[in-house]
């Protein structure tokens, strides 16, 4: 299938990306996040940390139409596809913004592949939701779930649910005798056990379901296929977030290297600093090009979407690890302090690295396609 040479980044989407960049830049969410973290720093004796986000910003994003961007027109959305969603997600990653939008965008693509227009319409109207797919071992397959479905009743625990405290409901993968099914449950009917995690910009939880009444999104037995079709979008969204964060890490480290003086020179003068920063750029750029390609493939050439998405996520995971490592190292002691934003991005990238499978997992799966 012919793909547009410009990845489908038409003028509208470019404007959307610019607007997201400006909006997130102005909100300075991290300043607010820091206030919420006050007193929780110490992992042994600090207060309990909550999954903070800015509800006002979320409402504004809904009002700006971001949540409905990839929702099909049939369900009241803008029908702009993954390329547009990736444009937003990259900016969210660059801002390391805690927001239910990340999970909601992911959920949108699962719902879209399940043709669950009723739930898509809810998203277009401002409802948020997150994916609950994984079992306790965190294997990056939807069929690692240990939740079971008995008719419309779900029981069990779903692990590693992202943004659990921020969303209105969950799309739960559950096993029935006919195979994997996908279900929607409202926040109120589950018990959320908050994980204590390293990452500061997301919350994560195990959600416990005790014979909970659920709405079917994909009938038992069809869940695998729906997830298989949605997976490229999920991997690509995540990779886009990581590409945005990597670009932040690159630019912030380069700026620091221009300002920080040691041995009577800005440290960026020294090749031991300059060359690793260049390597950060090389890594970040490889990921970005692969992300745009993957988004475009999902929208225009679904046959090739999985191959492209695995490449994007594999590259993003390597880039995230490398840029996180170098950004902390090259900031010297400063980047190692709680006060520096460098550590916030470092942790977000560490977390993203493993979500839906790390680089070597993606490569292993990719090899099967070559």
């Amino acid at each position: 299938m012919a793909q547009p040479q410009d990845f489908g980044f038409d003028d509208d989407i470019v404007m959307l990306k610019d607007a997201a960049n400006r909006f997130l830049g102005q909100r300075q969410t991290l300043v607010q996040l820091r206030a919420s973290l006050k007193g929780t720093e110490d992992p042994y004796r600090g207060e309990e940390r909550q999954g903070w986000y800015d509800p006002a910003a979320w409402q504004e994003m809904v009002d700006l139409g971001w949540a409905m961007v990839p929702v099909p027109e049939s369900a009241g959305g803008l029908g702009l596809g993954l390329v547009a969603a990736v444009a937003i997600q990259e900016e969210i990653g660059r801002a390391a913004c805690p927001t239910p939008l990340s999970s909601t965008l992911q959920a949108t693509f699962v719902l879209k592949e399940a043709q669950a227009d009723a739930h898509l319409a809810k998203i277009a109207e401002g409802s948020s939701m997150a994916l609950a797919l994984f079992g306790e071992d965190g294997a990056p397959d939807a069929d690692s779930t240990t939740v079971t479905a008995n008719g419309n009743k779900l029981s069990g625990t779903s692990s590693y649910v992202q943004d659990a405290q921020k969303v209105d409901g969950f799309i739960v993968a559950a096993k029935a005798s006919e195979g994997l099914g996908l279900y929607w449950v409202p926040k109120e009917s589950v018990t959320i056990h908050r994980d204590r995690i390293v990452e500061l910009t997301r919350d994560q939880a195990r959600i416990e379901l005790k014979n909970v009444e659920a709405e079917v999104i994909a009938e038992p037995g069809s869940g695998e296929q729906v997830m298989a079709r949605a997976l490229p979008a999920l991997l690509t969204l995540l990779a886009a977030d990581m590409a945005g964060a990597a670009e932040w890490q690159l630019q912030t480290t380069a700026e620091y290297a221009k300002l920080r003086v040691q041995f009577e020179r800005p440290i960026g003068f020294f090749q031991a600093v300059k060359h690793p920063i260049v390597n950060m750029m090389i890594a970040a750029d490889e990921t970005r090009s692969l992300v745009y390609n993957a988004a475009c493939a999902y929208d225009h050439d679904p046959e090739d979407a999985l191959r492209c998405a695995r490449m994007a996520k594999a590259s993003a995971s390597e880039t995230a690890a490398f840029c996180s490592n170098r950004s902390t190292q090259l900031h010297g002691g400063i980047g190692f302090t709680w006060e520096s934003d460098v550590q916030i991005y470092h942790k977000r990238q560490m977390h993203s690295q493993f979500l839906f499978g790390d680089a070597s997992w993606q490569r292993q799966k990719l090899a099967e396609l070559l």
Binding site: S289, Y292, M311, S315, A367
Partner: protein
């Protein structure tokens, strides 16, 4: 060992994309058909992997012939005005070069002429120079080499010492050049020489030097592969008429930089194609190699550690291909030069890694070299591995490239 500009060209290879203009579609169709119908028979001994490695006379004759044909057919100098021997099309050159690469026909021998001298002359040459020199470059009647690097001036080009002293209406040249690709085959050299020892940057002038004269001695240098891929050239009172000077006296550095840093001009301008293997075709070949090479009856591809390493390369090469697609998109490219300036360092390092990985896949079989009857593809992989250092060293080593990227793209303070 001049910069293999083909690398940049390789990097910009793109997936087939729907042509905007119908006449462009038609031209592509024409190129494809012509190349199919005119594909030359293989040479007796195989051609080297890249045009800058050619040294034998029979290869030279064969390749000059081929280039002349392609020029006649309009695949070279496609966009150059007719008055200078070109074909006068607009924006067709990239289509022609694409098709040449895609069709796996031989590359063009006169790549320095096409890739560097012609673009330089088109920008800086006098009207007479353009009329005199361009056509024989296109047709490969005159082979060109480049005289920039010197024994003491490799990465630090501006410290070159070869002297040019004005004597009436001619210049007397003394000194030497090194790493001169095609030096033993060329009749002309694009030369940088120093006319003023006091003025480092503004004391360099660019000339067109006729090689067949008593004052010029060319000595081939063997590479680690054993091939004599480049030469040393010595000047002892060599003579150049003043009308063979390019641009003003002292403008040599400016002239050199405008060619060296202009990706479009240097790489694709008039149709230089130095490789017909693309990174994508190489990595596919590597995957095939891993699937067919067995140890103890098991294909190397079934070893997850090797597979992982190969897939890593595969992904990076796909990224390079997508770079070419992204580079022209202003909203996504992070600045016009950010991606193009990465292409040499990234392409050459991935290429080296790819060849090194192939040696690992082959294991002990990688020891077998050109001419060994059991050697896989006649030693192509160890040969390719060794030649890969041309890419990481010459035309601005990877170290220099990283300085340039840090300084020009990220604004870091200059190391020197």
């Amino acid at each position: 060992m001049a910069h293999p500009y083909g690398m940049a060209a390789k990097m910009t290879e793109q997936q087939s994309s729907p042509e905007a203009r119908p006449e462009a579609r038609e031209f592509r169709e024409y190129c494809r058909r012509w190349l199919e119908e005119n594909r030359p028979p293989p040479t007796e001994t195989p051609l080297p992997q890249a045009s800058y490695e050619v040294t034998y006379d029979d290869h030279r004759a064969y390749l000059c012939d081929w280039q002349a044909k392609c020029y006649e057919a309009g695949l070279i100098a496609t966009d150059v005005p007719k008055v200078y021997g070109g074909h006068g099309y607009e924006n067709f050159q990239s289509i022609a070069s694409d098709e040449v690469r895609r069709s796996k026909v031989p590359y063009f021998l006169n790549w320095i002429g096409l890739g560097m001298v012609a673009p330089t002359l088109l920008i800086h040459g006098s009207e007479e120079q353009k009329k005199r020199f361009l056509k024989p470059i296109f047709s490969a009647e005159e082979i060109w080499c480049q005289g920039y690097s010197e024994p003491g001036a490799g990465s630090d080009l501006v410290s070159l010492q070869t002297s040019a002293v004005k004597d009436g209406d001619q210049w007397i040249i003394n000194g030497s050049k090194v790493w001169t690709s095609l030096g033993s085959l060329a009749s002309w050299m694009l030369l940088l020489a120093r006319n003023d020892k006091q003025d480092k940057y503004n004391g360099i002038t660019c000339f067109l030097l006729p090689i067949d004269q008593p004052g010029v001695t060319v000595r081939p240098i063997h590479k680690m592969t054993g091939e004599c891929g480049f030469c040393e050239v010595f000047f002892e009172n060599a003579i150049i008429a003043d009308d063979l000077r390019v641009d003003d006296v002292g403008a040599g550095w400016k002239v050199a930089m405008s060619t060296l840093t202009s990706e479009r001009g240097a790489a694709a301008g008039v149709g230089a194609v130095t490789h017909t293997e693309s990174p994508l075709s190489s990595v596919r070949e590597l995957i095939e190699l891993a699937k067919t090479t067995k140890r103890n009856g098991v294909p190397v591809w079934d070893d997850p550690v090797w597979r992982d390493r190969i897939v890593k390369l595969y992904i990076r090469i796909e990224a390079i291909i997508q770079h070419a697609r992204r580079a022209p998109i202003e909203a996504l490219n992070g600045g016009a030069m950010r991606l193009p300036l990465q292409s040499k360092v990234v392409g050459s390092e991935i290429g080296q890694d790819l060849n090194a990985t192939a040696l690992g896949v082959l294991g002990m079989q990688s020891s077998l070299y050109v001419g060994d009857e059991h050697a896989v593809r006649n030693g192509r992989w160890p040969l390719g591995y060794m030649n890969s250092y041309t890419g990481t060293i010459s035309g601005g080593s990877s170290e220099i490239q990283r300085n340039i990227l840090g300084e020009r793209i990220l604004g870091l303070p200059k190391t020197k």
